[in-house]
């Protein structure tokens, strides 16, 4: 028998149902794995005792044949989701000691489906970043290393702790959030599957807010099937989030038919960006060939406003962040630095509590929303955003989904790009458009470049996660990505 930590989520679920092992045994194996991957700094707060307690409750339910869709499945939770009674940091100093008295809707749903919490994972501070290096708790390392090169690499970000934990077999799946690419880009960098659902599919209630019109919770797993299973448990209408869609949740696993014959796949010509690595272009061509061999029809499309997606994002996201982060003032929770007056206390607390990237974005956001600049920057960006959404609507008149690379490069070394914010922002060039338009997208591991994983992305129409999963599943089978990172818990 292979190690329990080598199972996929679907295999573990079936094994638990067939009583091949208990939820407690599974949780214990993963608690050990969490311990083993400590050098990666993927978890901020492991919760091994809670995992064992939840697993014991799962075993009782499974024994009675009452198990839910995820009963006994050990998961990691990005430390942006509020978890009742468990430290929630958003990887920021300013949330020091914050222990939520409530549970986020998404995690509540996961626990209701029987899932087991292994702990809270590291991220870029307030999810602002593409490398998990801006965390107050230190950077997370990618379990992958370039062959013959010992430099630690970033796992991508902002959901880098979740990605590293899943890739290193120290969780069967993890929650992530995607605002500009924070699920899909780290999935690509660590060789796992990351699914950003449609805006409104998964509730944002209880998720520490970064940019409310762009924040999308979603699953990160090792296989497309696992993502389908996990999404089914996370999704659904929530009256506590006014932007949550009042739509039924399909059985996503049923969408994995393997049949994509006749499907029209859009290939956007604007996604050939300057300086993109040749390996990425060739992997993209392989992806096109795989889908064609499976009976789909590739069609060149145009998304003309794409090249303005990143600058629009870097107006809208900081604007929303500056507003959302106004609540961190040293009064209601977290860090307080005393001052002579209320304003003095606010200013000192926020100076000490926010890291450099968060401060940069709050200042940019404050500027673009300030009197005299609101029209020129914020409204302009929201008009460009409308054009980006229209580009997609036009494309979906001709095609059923769109195939692109996930990221313009493989993982880079920790510390690289740190001194050039704009170079760091370019990581999200292929993922940001789907966030701006609120469309579902998945990254599937498809190949290696210089020994490091690369993902391909499928984007589809709003609320059509089923097509994203169906095509992603075919891509996954064709790519047959079986490479393992250099550091795997065992």
């Amino acid at each position: 028998v292979s190690a329990l930590t080598d199972l996929t989520l679907a295999e573990a679920r079936d094994g638990l149902k067939a009583k091949k092992f208990s939820a407690r045994e599974l949780a214990a194996a993963f608690n050990t794995a969490v311990e083993q991957i400590k050098p990666l700094n993927a978890y901020i707060t492991p919760t091994p005792e809670r995992a064992l307690e939840m697993a014991a409750a799962s075993d009782a339910r499974l024994a009675k044949g009452e198990g839910g869709a995820l009963d006994g499945i050990p998961l990691a939770i990005k430390d942006l989701f509020c978890t009742k009674g468990v430290l929630t940091t958003a990887a920021s100093h300013i949330l020091d000691g914050f222990t939520p008295p409530y549970e986020s809707t998404v995690t509540e749903k996961l626990w209701a489906a029987g899932a087991v919490m292994l702990g809270k994972t590291n991220l870029d501070e307030f999810a602002m970043g593409s490398s998990t290096t801006t965390s107050y708790y230190g950077p997370t390392e990618n379990p992958w290393r370039r062959p013959g090169d010992n430099r630690p690499l970033v796992p991508g970000g902002s959901s880098g702790g979740s990605a590293a934990a899943v890739a290193a077999h120290a969780a069967l799946g993890a929650t992530g959030t995607d605002t500009g690419g924070s699920i899909r880009q780290p999935a690509s960098f660590t060789g796992i599957v990351g699914l950003k659902p449609t805006y409104g599919r998964c509730s944002r209630w209880g998720v520490v807010a970064f940019a409310s019109s762009l924040d999308h919770p979603g699953p990160m797993t090792r296989t497309v099937r696992d993502a389908a299973i996990m999404l089914g448990a996370m999704a659904g209408h929530d009256p506590k989030d006014s932007t949550s869609a009042p739509l039924p949740v399909p059985d996503y696993e049923k969408a994995l038919t393997g049949d994509i014959r006749g499907l029209k796949i859009g290939i956007p010509k604007e996604y050939r960006v300057d300086g993109m690595a040749a390996e990425i272009e060739s992997l993209w061509q392989s992806g096109i060939a795989w889908l064609k061999d499976s009976g789909a029809e590739p069609i060149e499309i145009s998304l003309p406003t794409t090249k303005y997606a990143l600058p629009a994002y870097y107006v809208i996201a900081p604007a929303e962040a500056s507003s959302n982060l106004a609540r961190y003032d040293g009064v209601k929770f977290g860090l307080r630095v005393d001052g002579d007056s209320l304003d003095d206390m606010y200013e000192k607390t926020r100076a000490a509590g926010f890291g450099a990237e968060v401060r940069r974005r709050v200042l940019i956001g404050t500027y673009v929303l300030s009197a005299g600049y609101y029209d020129a920057y914020y409204l302009k960006a929201q008009r460009v955003r409308m054009l980006i959404a229209r580009d997609f609507s036009e494309a979906f008149k001709k095609v059923d989904c769109i195939l692109t690379p996930t990221a313009p490069s493989a993982a880079f070394a920790i510390g690289e790009k740190a001194d050039d914010p704009v170079a760091m922002y370019l990581n999200d060039v292929f993922t940001v458009p789907a966030d701006l338009a609120g469309l579902p997208g998945i990254s599937v591991p498809a190949g290696l470049s210089d020994g490091l994983p690369l993902g391909l992305q499928i984007i589809s129409r709003a609320f059509d996660e089923e097509t994203v999963l169906r095509v992603g599943h075919v891509l996954e089978s064709a790519a047959a990505f079986t490479h393992r990172p250099s550091f795997v818990a065992a």
Binding site: T243, A326, V331, A351, K380
Partner: protein, 113 residues
Amino acid sequence: MIASPKRFGPFRRERPKIMPLDKATVARIATLARIRVGEDELEPLAAELSGILDWVEQLMAVDTENVPPMTSVAEMTLPMRDDVVTDGGNVDGVLGNAPRSAKGFFAVPKVVE
């Protein structure tokens, strides 16, 4: 006739020329954002933020005449509910994470002498 700053200022819609942020502007927005920024940090921050704004300036090349700003990501109208109290009466929960509280309130430095 007094020129409206929106039309004739440096940020008018047609081919605007965005001035890089200077130290004084950074100090002003830091105050608006209630983040204390040291005097020695103003210059490097001004350069850094100007770099980002310069890059964002490419947006001005997009023709957005007659394009409405996006206000809602998903095409849905916000739901209404009955205007009734659904939660509350949980002072301990609300104050549980406060750095300082007293007699059922958040405690802050003295505001009125």
